[in-house]
């Protein structure tokens, strides 16, 4: 009995399926003119340069570009990818990977260029000095600033808080469930070696370093602190698109002087300004690719990057649209990058 019903149910299902199939195929053919995949009437534009006849000869080949996980870097990649694809006719393979993995990519031949490198002396030593698989192409024009920041409402309410000497006076305000009775200094992104624990000790601050663990944790904490007018002291950095949303205020530590950070355990001064640099694989540097010339010439300012990053992160534009908007507005700068390609 049960078997019979189940199979009759199955048969009517087939009938229904056939009806659906016929209906769908009719809709496909009649309703929309039945555009064929890869046919001439095709409107797909994502095929890139392969189908269009207007592009000049291919000399670039594949350009492997590392995309590290922060929006500022994504902005670098957006404009370089846009130019390499549309002006130099390169096939750009963007790899979404973290910093350490990007450097490893030089040795496996899978990454041609890093556009925004923050320090990483150990990786420089291994891949540039020891194994020579990578080369330093120098500054990309960006200035990295690392330091301690407070949300803007605090700087207004307590004007002297931007001086490190007053931090102890306010330490009680910064207490949290995590800081064991002291003020909390929230550290964030695990990608950087910070001197914060040593700084707190050597400046005799009544604070405890708490590991936030990610950039996401830092940004959310600052956003909530500004929204709810809650105190927060945390490690942060510029250029960063979030500074456009909430203009954090930097706390001044004893100024950096050359060599003041040479002994990590004794550090009692601010972080140096980082010159962010471009790194390419040696293979790519010797390839004669026009994309290499583009990367070599590439240089822009923190403000430029913030504009593109805002297009992407706040205005929700696609990388390509954001890049096009900026490139169209800055022809002079772009032309110097394309010089010699």
């Amino acid at each position: 009995m049960g078997r019979f019903t189940s199979s009759s149910r199955g048969r009517s299902a087939v009938r229904r399926l056939s009806v659906v199939a016929v209906a769908v195929s009719m809709a496909v053919l009649a309703g929309c003119g039945g555009a064929k995949v890869g046919g001439t009437s095709s409107t797909t534009t994502n095929a890139g340069g392969t189908s269009s006849g207007t592009v000049k000869k291919t000399s670039c080949g594949t350009f492997n570009l590392a995309d590290n996980p922060w929006v500022g870097y994504e902005a670098d990649v957006a404009v370089i990818q846009y130019l390499a694809k549309n002006k130099l006719n390169c096939t750009v393979a963007v790899k979404h990977i973290t910093e350490q993995v990007s450097w490893q990519g030089f040795s496996t031949g899978q990454v041609d260029a890093i556009l925004e490198n923050w320090g990483h002396d150990d990786l420089k030593k291994q891949y540039i000095d020891n194994t020579h698989v990578a080369q330093d192409l120098g500054s990309d024009g960006l200035k990295g600033v690392i330091g301690w920041y407070v949300p803007p409402w605090m700087a207004t309410a307590y004007p002297d808080i931007t001086d490190w000497k007053s931090l102890n006076k306010y330490a009680d305000m910064f207490k949290t469930s995590e800081s064991g009775g002291k003020g909390q200094l929230l550290d964030g992104d695990p990608s950087y070696v910070t001197n914060d624990a040593a700084l707190v000790k050597n400046l005799n601050l009544n604070f405890k370093v708490v590991q936030g663990g990610s950039e996401t944790a830092l940004i959310q904490s600052f956003r909530a602190a500004q929204q709810n007018k809650k105190p927060l002291l945390a490690y942060f950095y510029s250029p960063q698109w979030f500074l456009n949303e909430v203009p954090l205020v930097k706390v001044n530590l004893p100024p950096y002087t050359a060599g003041c950070d040479s002994n990590a355990a004794k550090v009692a001064c601010d972080y140096p300004a980082y010159v962010l640099n471009k790194v390419v694989s040696t293979k790519f540097a010797n390839s004669g690719s026009p994309a290499f010339t583009l990367v070599k010439n590439f240089s822009w300012t923190n403000e430029d990057q913030n504009v593109v990053a805002k297009y992407i992160a706040v205005d929700k534009m696609s990388d390509e649209a954001a890049a096009k908007k900026w490139v169209d507005a800055n022809p002079a700068k772009v032309n110097t990058w394309l010089n010699g390609t």
Partner: protein, 673 residues
């Protein structure tokens, strides 16, 4: 007879009482001694510091990077695997998701995929799950994430395919051979508890950035369930049946093929189901080494804290998981029926239906190969002069963004109070007791507790694991992680019992809650971490909550099954004897599912430990942060690896103690049956 069992019950009660008293004595002694020796010999290591072992592991990592192009092991072994794995993934991508053979689109378009999935679900499952597959896939199309979803599906299919190819034979072997089973088990424990973050960066040195590393990372995590469950299926074939077949003169291999495999078929399908779920849970992490798919969408959206877009992509992962779960579960039920030898009759009626379905599917696949509308999922349809929008994704993104914003703005003061209460009265005291006692005191207390709760063997395992944790140089971080893990498990079990009892007693509650549990298990945790940090700040409590969200569903499901499994006649008898609902739950249903409760605790602990690293991303600190930092900084790689090993050791320690406790509970409850 009944007098004997009554006696056994009384004895067991008194044993349990004694055990409870002993635990209390040990805890009291620990707290008392803590007062005198607090802060001595705590073996602490600051978060940026490393020890000699960690430095040696760093050097090992660098030398792999330096020698990969000259070492024959790479040239002839790893590179070959890399090429093979890449080919496999690319082949599935060409079918489902990426431009192939000079076409701008994959070989099978959305209509073809929907048709094939529906047909397969119907053939191997039933009409109900076929409908679910149909609706689920169309929903993903409407979400506007068809292409990345198919990339995810391609990677998942490739990983599951290899897992089964390796896992089922190994599982059969482990089912037949005790020595092999003993060797394999700790290895599988290791593969399942070692955080992926630890080996992800080194894996790219072996297998390069891209789908191959994504596939292999997924494989490491997804392979153990199918091996374990296949072995379990083979082992639980009743010995009577085996002996009967042997007495009829079948050889060992005949017994395997004709008796054991058919009888274990249902269990093996459950193993396949678990492997699929494990593979899907790796989607986001694999994205960190440029593996294609929905994980990429999630990770990139979260760079700009775009919770809406991340949620939309996460929801697509949930839909894929639920479809695959229901289809494989239906397939296992059918395998059960077929395994009992009813397949012949059903097959005769099914055949014409099957042929019809296949023909229709073939037509649809051809259409999806040829016509653009059937190939790439349209965002609108124009029929005559009317335009029909086919975009559900934008609404989902908008709705989830405004829900997140509302929660972050308006719930903050409540959530802050909750966080502070739990931290000051739960996490802080427990953590202080564990990490500020001298190591020898904590060590002795844990071993004594293991002895009381689990017995001599559990205590021996505790001694070994704790000694090895000291050797990793991360004792204090391990104790901090242990404190958070224990607290999270208490919360998990509280939820498990509350919701599990409700679901076990009410079929309707089960139907409503179960899909939510599935969603909580497969929704990538990265998605909900952003609002959690806003609500609970970057803190250890946020880490605990993330772990509870992930682990509670498992515990709830196990408890619900246990409660539902208590025989209805016993419950009726208790009701007839005048017990009210509360009495039935506390005096009958819970005591009778004590073994299930122990199992739920065990699984809850393991799942909580799986989230230690995620907790490290949101302020959990301790071992989780060590692993995260090791993934990001090559100078901390060795420390991250050591932290990963410490997490595995904590996992083995807690697993063996709770399993031993479960066995004891089992032995004593057997007298009821």
């Amino acid at each position: 007879m009944s007098a004997v069992s009554a006696l056994a019950r009384v004895q067991w009660r008194s044993v349990r009482l004694n055990r409870g008293t002993m635990v209390a004595i040990v805890l009291a002694g620990w707290v008392l001694l803590f007062g005198f020796v607090r802060g001595h010999d705590t073996l602490s290591l600051a978060s940026a510091d490393v020890n000699g072992l960690h430095t040696r592991l760093n050097d090992l990592n660098s030398s792999v990077g330096a020698n990969r192009n000259s070492n024959p092991l790479f040239v002839y072994f790893f590179n070959e695997i890399q090429v093979g794995a890449t080919h496999l993934v690319t082949a599935f991508q060409a079918l489902l998701s990426q431009p192939a053979n000079g076409r701008p689109l994959p070989l099978i378009g959305w209509l073809g995929v929907v048709a094939i999935a529906t047909l397969l679900s119907w053939v191997f499952g039933n009409l109900k799950v076929a409908l679910l597959a149909l609706v689920g896939l169309l929903f993903i199309g409407l979400q506007g994430v068809w292409q990345p979803a198919m990339d995810t599906l391609a990677l998942t299919i490739a990983a599951v395919f290899i897992s089964l190819l390796i896992g089922i034979p190994l599982g059969i072997w482990a089912g037949l051979s005790d020595p092999f089973h003993r060797v394999l088990t700790p290895l599988l424990d290791f593969m399942q508890t070692m955080p992926t973050f630890v080996y992800l960066a080194p894996l790219t040195l072996l297998f390069l950035i891209g789908p191959a590393t994504g596939l292999i990372a997924t494989l490491i995590y997804a392979l153990p369930p199918v091996i374990r469950i296949t072995a379990h299926g083979i082992r639980t074939v009743p010995t009577g049946t085996l002996e009967a077949s042997r007495s009829l003169g079948s050889t060992r291999s005949q017994a395997l093929v004709k008796v054991m495999l058919p009888m274990a078929r249902r269990t093996i399908v459950i193993g396949i189901n678990q492997t699929i779920m494990a593979a899907l849970s790796m989607v986001t992490i694999a994205a960190l080494v440029a593996a294609p798919g929905l994980g990429q969408t999630v990770v990139q959206a979260l760079e700009s804290q775009d919770v809406g877009t991340a949620f939309n992509a996460g929801l697509a992962i949930v839909v894929i998981a639920i479809v695959l779960d229901r289809v494989t579960t239906a397939a296992s039920a059918r395998a059960d029926v077929n395994g009992r030898g009813r397949s012949g009759n059903v097959g005769r009626f099914r055949r014409p239906v099957l042929i019809g379905g296949t023909v229709v599917t073939a037509v649809l696949v051809y259409l999806s190969y040829t016509y653009e509308l059937a190939a790439s999922f349209p965002d609108h349809l124009t029929i005559g002069s009317r335009r029909f929008g086919l975009d559900l994704g934008s609404s989902i993104i908008r709705a989830s963004t405004s829900a997140t914003n509302w929660a972050q703005r308006d719930l903050h003061s409540i959530t802050d109070a909750i966080k502070n209460t739990v931290t000051y009265h739960g996490i802080n005291p427990l953590q202080t007791l564990l990490d500020s006692s001298p190591w020898w005191l904590t060590f002795a207390a844990i071993v004594l507790l293991a002895l009381i709760i689990g017995g001599v063997r559990a205590a021996a395992v505790a001694v070994l694991c704790l000694s090895l944790i000291i050797a990793t140089g991360l004792w204090q971080d391990s104790m901090d992680t242990l404190a958070a893990t224990l607290l999270a498990t208490v919360l998990v079990m509280a939820l498990g019992v509350l919701v599990g009892v409700w679901m076990g007693r009410s079929k309707r509650a089960d139907q409503v809650i179960r899909p939510l549990l599935d969603a909580a298990q497969v929704m990538p945790s990265f998605v909900y971490l952003v609002p959690f940090v806003a609500l609970f700040a970057a803190s250890r409590f946020t880490g605990v909550i993330a772990a509870v969200v992930y682990a509670a569903p498992v515990a709830i499901k196990i408890v619900a099954d246990g409660i539902a499994g208590v025989s209805a006649t016993t419950v009726e008898a208790a009701r007839a004897a005048g017990s009210n609902t509360w009495q039935i739950i506390t005096k009958v249903q819970l005591p009778m599912s004590i073994r299930t409760l122990a199992l739920a605790t065990n699984q809850g602990l393991i799942y909580v430990l799986a989230m230690v690293v995620v907790a490290g991303l949101v302020g959990g600190g301790a071992l989780g942060y060590d692993v995260v930092a090791g993934f990001s900084q090559s100078s901390l790689f060795g420390k991250g690896l050591a932290a990963g090993v410490a997490i595995v050791l904590l996992g083995i320690l807690l697993d063996r103690i709770t399993q031993a406790a479960a066995r004891r509970a089992d032995a004593s409850t057997n007298t009821y049956r």
